[in-house]
Amino acid sequence: MGGIPLFPEAASSFASEVDALYLFIVAVSAFFTVAVSAAVVFFAFRYRRKHPEEIGAHIEGSLPLELLWSVIPTIIAMVMFAWGAKLFYEMRRAPAESMQIYAVGKQWMWKFQHTGGQREINELHVPVGRPIKVLVTSEDVLHDLYFPSFRTKIDAIPGRYQTLWFEATKPGRYHIFCAEYCGTKHSGMIGTVIVMEPQQYQDWLAGGGSEGTMAERGAKLFNDLACNTCHLDSGQGRGPSLKDIIGKPVELAGGQTAVVDEAYLRESILNSQAKIVKGFTPLMPTFQGLVSEEGLAALIEHIKSLSPQAAASTPAPVPAAAPSTSTPAAPAQGARR
């Protein structure tokens, strides 16, 4: 392609399908552009005015033609729609066995937390070949977590979790961008995702996480914030037991049910009045402003750890005595040249 790159590196499981869909639309577009341009240029020569009094033929139009050139583009458009929607559906459904990472956008940095307790800023280490689900939120304004080499992005919206997933297919270093304008250093809110071979990744994990896993930090917070005064494992407290609730429907006071996932836990902690568990009085205080995004994520991981059979998101256990040589040697690969 000469000196100008046309595609970013394709490094995730759906990157090549996004590229294929893109090339399909490029082909359709090129066809129509060339066809219409060729027609109008041909007419320009063929029907050029020969003498000043000449006038064009009187033609009203043609219903069959109008139908033809409405219906054919509609059919082609429906193919694009269907293919795009199918791909999108896959891009939005993280596989159940995904490993989980929390990401928080903040003017102007990306903070990542691994469930094992490792924290990173503007860098994200992930293993190759394993689906990874990122729960994304923001501490201030909108941001957008964008991995061009994985062909995916999601807005970071304050006050809620959004999920994005990918499975990296090639070890290497790739760009992380903030794609939603967020003020002064928007263009500096960039980082690197480092995709590693599983063994290297294990080594890297072993090197970090000195403050314990997220669940452990969450357990400590659970005591510090006095959650444990109401939520007893026995279910005898003023609040419901939080054991084994993940992934299950909970009956609400209004008669509806809700499924307990991260978004539900988040809302229960920050704004417990929004959904009241059936049979309880709404006396849980709001923790809005009392707990940071990191703390909240830790609390959620703690509560998830109370549902052992549903916890699929914890990473493979770290071999205790793994050597901690952790820098991956792959060169920066921003672009395919």
Partner: protein, 540 residues
């Protein structure tokens, strides 16, 4: 061929001095007032673009401070969208031409027409004040919570400016709707109207129905900044994404406010320069209305990654394709019009040919963005920037400039340089493609928009784009020179220099203040080209 004489009495000679202009109720003079003011804003918006393109020639972000750069792209967008593109074709060409095209002496409400210009100017002054007082840095989209809670720049003054200008747009729309319903000459029924008038009718509907929504949205941001109600603040139960729904509910249709009138211009020019009726007249007419209606149900295609559900995204993706079809239908009909026409290629037609290329690419690239699987990657990258510039600058400004060149002899009564006008049409086309085509590639490569600095691998394409912008700038400057020159020194144009069939060409050039001395009665079919039309134009 006889040499035409410049008419001694016309709307330009009817009253002299500033007061005769500032207090005029003549739709033609008001159009000229708009022409001058939007040109000034176009120039200002262009200056900011120069700043952007200069900064982006190097990856480091070394020319301006980041905040300065952010203000540049914000002001560029705000000015170009709200103070140039939205008023451009309707307020200048629509204002000038709708009455003569329908055989009327003026719009239905001449005073309101003047009022809408004053409102526009006041809105503009607020925005200029915001610039002088330090600028604004939210992007033209004013997304919350950045605009409501984080930015420390002059958001309120700018928002107020846009809010006020919106009323000008509503009033113009109302005026056109009433005029088109009530003021048509006897015998001029709907299907004899020029497609330019249909396009303005559809646009006016959007203006009247959509603009109040953006006005409310702006008031909410304003109130949020002033009183802190918490509407967009999740900590207090607000929703930051609500703003985007409201904003795009107006602003997606607003992109059609910017393009539909230009599509109307294209129909007029294509038919005149091929001396032929527009192929499939009623399909082209109704496609304008279809676009106006569908335009209101696609807004969330700007929000596929902004927290709408998977199923909502699918519905909005599907609906978005529905606006693409009427746009495609128009292009096919124009192309078919050329078939067996009698084509000639003066500057207006060159602009139309340029328009074909750019609008095609702009519209087709919309498909990449309406397709969910690709939009996730392309959203908020330079691909989107390239897409909407192809349509709004490539399409709408080509249409606007084509229209200015087409009706200039009617408006001023004199011709501009044929040679220079062709050169400028070609420069604009070439410069435009050089500037914006590389941005599609940049976008697919992953370069996000609104970036002051960028990784090195994006530099080659950015330099190419900045170089193209220089050519494009030249292409836009040339017409200013030769058009102004022609006001005094141009050859006298005569009533109908192109041999066009529309009613407006039956008036003298420049027209009398009351357009017609008598209401025209023998109304032809739209675009009726017969040897008689050419003979009466005294071209031979």
């Amino acid at each position: 061929m006889e040499t035409p004489v410049y008419p001694a009495h016309n709307y330009l000679s009817n009253g002299h001095g500033l007061k005769s202009w500032l207090l005029t109720k003549d739709h033609k003079r008001i159009a000229i007032l708009y022409l001058i003011s939007i040109s000034a804003f176009f120039f200002l918006g262009g200056l900011f673009a120069v700043g952007i393109r200069l900064e982006l020639t190097t990856p480091q972000g070394d020319l301006f401070q980041p905040d300065t750069y952010n203000k540049f792209f914000t002001l560029h967008g705000v000015i170009m969208v709200f103070f140039f593109l939205i008023p451009s074709v309707p307020a200048v060409l629509g204002n000038f031409l709708i009455p003569p095209m329908i055989g009327a002496k003026d719009l239905a409400f001449p005073r309101i027409n003047l009022l809408s210009w004053y409102i526009y100017v006041i809105g503009g002054i607020f925005t200029l004040f915001a610039i002088v007082a330090g600028g604004v840095d939210t992007g033209w989209t004013f997304y919350t919570p950045y605009s409501s809670a984080s930015s420390s720049t002059n958001v309120a003054a700018t928002a107020l400016g846009v809010f006020i200008a919106g009323f000008s747009s509503i009033l113009t729309g109302l005026n056109f709707i009433v005029t088109i319903h009530r003021m048509r000459a006897p015998g001029l029924h709907w299907f004899k109207l020029p497609l330019f008038v249909w396009a303005h009718y559809a646009t006016s509907l959007i203006q009247v129905l959509g603009t109040p929504v953006v006005a409310i949205t702006i008031v909410m941001v304003f109130a949020e900044r002033a009183f802190g109600f918490g509407i967009f603040d999740p900590q207090r139960g607000g929703d930051p994404v609500l703003f985007q729904h409201l904003f795009w509910f107006y602003s997606h249709p607003a992109v059609y406010i910017m393009i539909l009138p230009a599509l109307g211009v294209i129909s007029e020019i294509v038919s005149t320069f091929s001396r032929k009726r527009i192929f499939g007249y009623s399909f082209v007419a109704f496609s304008s209305l279809a676009i106006a209606v569908f335009g209101f149900i696609v807004w969330a295609h700007h929000m596929f990654v902004a927290g709408i559900t998977v199923y909502a995204a699918m519905v909005f993706s599907f609906l978005s394709f529905s606006v693409a079809i009427p746009s495609a239908v128009k292009v096919f009909n124009w192309s078919a019009t050329l078939h067996r026409g009698s084509l000639s290629f003066e500057a207006p037609m060159l602009y139309v040919y340029g328009f074909f290329g750019l609008f095609l690419i702009g519209g087709l690239t919309g498909l990449f963005l309406a397709t969910l699987g690709t939009d996730i990657h392309l959203h908020d990258t330079y691909f989107v920037v390239a897409h909407f510039h192809y349509i709004m600058v490539g399409g709408a400004i080509m249409g606007y400039l084509g229209g200015i060149h087409f009706w200039w002899p009617k408006m001023i009564g004199r011709m501009y340089s044929e040679f220079w006008s062709r050169i400028s049409a070609i420069l604009v086309f070439v410069g435009f493609n050089l500037t914006f085509f590389p941005q599609f590639v940049l976008g697919y490569m992953g370069m996000p928009r609104r970036y002051h600095m960028y990784p090195d691998e994006f530099q080659v394409l950015n330099v190419l784009s900045s170089g193209g912008a220089a050519v494009l700038g030249l292409g836009y400057l040339l017409p200013v020179i030769y058009l102004v020159y022609s006001i005094k020194y141009g050859e006298v144009a005569g009533n109908n220099p192109w041999g066009a069939s529309g009613l407006e060409w039956r008036t003298q050039s420049p027209p009398l203040t009351e357009n017609f001395l008598e209401v025209p009665t023998d109304i032809p079919e739209a675009y009726e080209y017969t040897p008689k039309v050419i003979r009466e134009a005294k071209l031979v």
